[in-house]
């Protein structure tokens, strides 16, 4: 009887593996050189509509003006230049991230937060996922020009957090 049970089990396991193997093969296919399954380009430049390096020239003053208006409209509810708010302060971002990464973050925040290890790390710190404002690639480039124009080299960590309690005297 024991032999019978073992035999049944053994065969079942064998056959089960045979029919289940298809699925595991699919999962393996995505793995590349790193754990995230992303290409080197994507790791440096983000995931989204920007899939190749851009050549950026001198800062375009006309675009900066439009970008500044858009920043007030679309970004400032959550981002200030010199203050950590809902999201990171953005004065230093153009020195920390590639232009392509910034554009992908603006144009594909949902995908970035879901699949990009850097964006996930930032979400872990700020907890509010960046919202998709459904901007056009041109609008995103105008915002990028604005951010470049106000950019400074430095560390965001140096920006003081808003103190929990403010004295009336400041």
């Amino acid at each position: 009887m024991k032999q019978f049970i073992y035999g049944t089990l053994l065969l079942s396991v064998f056959l089960f593996i045979a029919c289940g193997s298809d699925d595991s093969a699919k999962k393996g296919a995505k793995a590349g050189g790193n754990n995230s399954g992303l290409t080197d380009f994507q790791l440096k430049n983000g995931i989204g509509p920007i899939t190749a390096k851009l050549t950026l020239g001198e800062i375009d003053v006309a675009k900066v003006k439009k970008g500044a208006d858009l920043f007030v409209q679309k970004c400032s509810p959550c981002h200030k230049l010199d203050k950590r708010l809902v999201g990171p302060a953005l004065r230093y971002v153009s020195f920390r991230r590639t232009p392509e990464y910034i554009l992908n973050m603006i144009l594909n925040p949902t995908g970035m937060v879901k699949d990009h290890p850097e964006a996930r790390k930032v979400l872990g710190e700020y907890l509010s996922p960046m919202t998709d404002m459904h901007l056009t690639p041109d609008q995103a480039k105008e915002i990028l020009e604005y951010i470049r124009s106000v950019g400074k080299e430095g560390k965001e960590n140096n920006i003081p957090e808003v103190p929990l309690f403010r004295s009336s005297a400041k």
Binding site: T8, L11, F16, P77, V86, T110, P129, T131, D132
Partner: protein, 654 residues
């Protein structure tokens, strides 16, 4: 050894069995429909979508419920004729005009018969229309936003029941009156009903681009009760058919006195003829007050306009406009088959179903094969229009729908069943019990030239023992049948919101492509909208204070407001700055004598708050929007009337 071999062989057989069941369990139903159980047919796996929408009327809830078929899952209750505190419908300043009538603001109605717009006799999935029975109105609901966009009141009507059915190109949505009344309304003795009370059948023209409705004309009819109606289609396009009862013109104890005549009528209205009469100026312009309310997506606001007149055609005086087809015993349902040839009259007190032929009707009109007249309207001879009779199929026939394969399905209220029968031969093919007392039934596209004859939903008035008890009031229900085979198969029971008088169904692919995800901020033309935090402000205008506020995950701007005084009328005009799918925010304010606001991305809504006491009062977001939703809150300071506190507002001290 022999023993061992034998056991290995048995083990192998059992293992193979296990393998088949293990590998097959995740399969996508290629085992063939015949082998599927009812559970498999209605199972929509988590994350998968239903194949059909069903828009089920809410009856005395006044609303319209959206279900997925075949799962029977409830997705949304669209507020139409009744206020809805969840969605601020009738509570916020933007939607109050939608519920305004010539009788003033009305917070409730009884919604009955949804019907989806059509193009060339097929469902086009643009709008669904539904009627308010009590204070007569017709609503148009957009199937892009799943919101009510228009409500028009119907004058000279009472008990707006034989409504709101559309013609095959949505040229018209039609509204009939169940109760006859003095037209125009006046103070008179009820006993003088007979001959003095009248009925008006209204034809509402629908703009093919915007969907906007306008009453093109009304047809003035004898004082019968007009119960249900359906459009002609195909060969009978241009006609509309109404069932009548109380041709006795009784005004009291109708259950006896309106059941005296052996036959009542199905009234056939030639609406193309009516158009000719209107063009020829044969109408009378009657003064009539009725509201026309339109909600605009650009302003996120409704306006209510009072109309002052309506064009009326008198059926008694205009030859060729209306003919009456005698139909036994107080017919209720009046249903037209997909070809437009057959008009089925369900005499509720008759044991048999009467089917009229459109071809025979035309011949009888041509031959003047009349059997007298009623108030100048010719009555066609019963035999001259009769196509056939379904003999004794059940008790209490009510409504009929069609599967597009030559079969009809009729509900029987008293004997609680659906009966399938064949058009042309009139033979009964199948019958299935319902639980219990079925009213309407619905086949997706059943009121069109092209039904989708896979599912049928029976809607029941009584459920008694079918669900867990919930005190004296128990739900009404829908029952889903598979009608793709020779015999109907009951698949699923599911409870409904209010009373499911009727429903309209449509394959999901006709709607999902156009379903709106959010409103673009650039297109927001609300007079009090602000599209960035930089524009937020608080403006005092006497005792009125307007707060131009924004919301985005996860804060309000401004979130600290001071300088409000007791006795002020505070308007929170709140714009949701989000531009992403599925990120609504809400607003609740302590002590507000109204509902919350629930604001979709890109939308602006307004709440009025009248603080009665000094203090610092909080407000907060009511829709869990993000990980920091609990932080989405603010304070508003209220000072005494004579206070010197200046109006100020801020976010994060700025």
């Amino acid at each position: 050894m022999k023993f061992l071999l034998k056991h290995i062989a048995i083990a192998f057989i059992i293992s193979a069995g296990l393998l088949i069941s293990a590998c097959g369990s995740g399969g996508s139903g290629n085992s063939g429909a015949l082998n599927k159980t009812a559970a498999e047919k209605v199972f929509v796996a988590p994350g998968e979508w239903d194949s059909h929408y069903a828009f089920v009327s809410g009856g005395f809830s006044g609303q319209l419920a959206v279900y997925g078929i075949p799962s029977g899952r409830l997705f949304k209750v669209i507020p139409v004729f009744s206020v809805d505190a969840e969605k601020a419908w009738g509570f916020n300043e933007e939607t109050k005009p939608m519920l305004t009538t010539s009788h003033g603001f009305i917070p409730w109605d009884d919604s009955h018969h949804p019907d989806i717009s059509q193009t060339k006799g097929e469902l086009d999935g643009r709008w669904v229309f539904i009627n308010a029975n009590n204070t007569p109105r017709i609503a148009r609901i957009s199937l892009e936003t799943f919101e009510t966009e228009e409500i028009i009141e119907i004058p000279n009507s009472a008990g707006n029941h034989s409504s709101s059915f559309v013609t095959e190109n949505t040229e018209y949505v039609v509204a009939g009156t169940r109760f006859s009344i003095p037209i125009p309304q006046r103070d008179m003795s009820i006993k003088e009903y007979k001959g003095n009370f009248k009925a008006a059948l209204s034809f509402l023209k629908v703009d093919p681009e915007t969907g906007h409705m306008n009453i093109d004309f009304q047809i003035l009819m004898p004082g019968f009760d007009y119960d249900l109606s359906h459009p002609g289609r195909g060969k009978s396009h241009g006609w509309f058919f109404f069932s009548t009862y109380n041709t006795e013109e009784a005004n009291t104890l109708l259950e006896v006195n309106a059941s005296q005549n052996d036959k009542d009528f199905i009234a056939a209205i030639n609406w193309k003829k009516a158009q000719e009469y209107v063009k020829a100026g044969k109408f009378k312009t009657m003064s009539a007050k009725y509201t026309h309310n339109i909600y605009e997506n650009s302003t996120h606001s409704a306006t209510s306009k009072m109309e002052t007149s309506v064009r009326v055609l008198d059926a008694s005086k205009l030859p060729g406009l209306v003919y009456l087809m005698p139909t036994p015993k107080s017919p209720h349902g009046c249903d037209v088959d997909p070809t437009g040839e057959y008009i089925v009259g369900s005499g509720k007190l008759s044991a048999s179903l009467t089917v009229h032929s459109f071809t025979k009707m035309q011949q009888a009109i041509k031959d003047k094969n009349f059997d007298g007249e009623a108030y100048g309207i010719p009555i066609l001879k019963f035999d001259a229009t009769l196509a056939g009779t379904v003999q004794q199929p059940g008790l209490g026939p009510l409504h009929t729908e069609f599967d597009g394969r030559g079969n009809a399905y009729t509900t029987f209220f008293i004997s609680s069943e659906v009966v399938k029968w064949k058009l042309g031969t009139w033979e009964v093919l199948d019958r299935k019990p319902t639980y219990y007392s079925v009213g309407h039934l619905m086949i997706p596209g059943g009121n069109s030239g092209k039904p989708f004859g896979k599912y049928m939903i029976a809607m029941n008035k009584i459920t008694k023992d079918r669900y867990l008890p919930t005190g004296p009031e128990v739900c009404q229900s829908a029952q889903l049948f598979d009608i793709s085979g020779d015999k109907m198969e009951l698949l699923l029971d599911f409870p409904t919101v209010g009373e499911p008088h009727y429903a309209a169904g449509i394959p999901a692919e006709k709607i999902i492509k156009r379903s709106k995800k959010f409103f673009k901020l650039e297109e927001n033309k609300h007079p009090y909208s602000v599209t960035s935090e930089a524009e937020t402000k608080v403006v005092r205008d006497g005792k009125n204070v307007h707060i131009y506020m924004t919301m985005i995950r996860s804060h309000f701007s401004p979130d600290n407001i001071e300088g409000i005084k007791v006795g002020d009328r505070v308007y929170f005009h709140v714009t949701n700055l989000e531009q992403d799918y599925d990120v609504p925010h809400g607003l609740g304010v302590i002590g507000a004598k109204t509902s919350e606001l629930l604001i979709m991305p890109g939308q602006t809504e307004t709440m009025v708050w009248e603080p009665k006491k000094p203090g610092v009062w909080p407000f907060y977001c009511t829709d869990f929007c993000s990980a920091l939703h609990q932080e989405m809150q603010g304070y508003i300071r209220v000072s005494p009337r004579n206070s010197k506190v200046k109006l100020s507002w801020s976010l994060d001290g700025e």
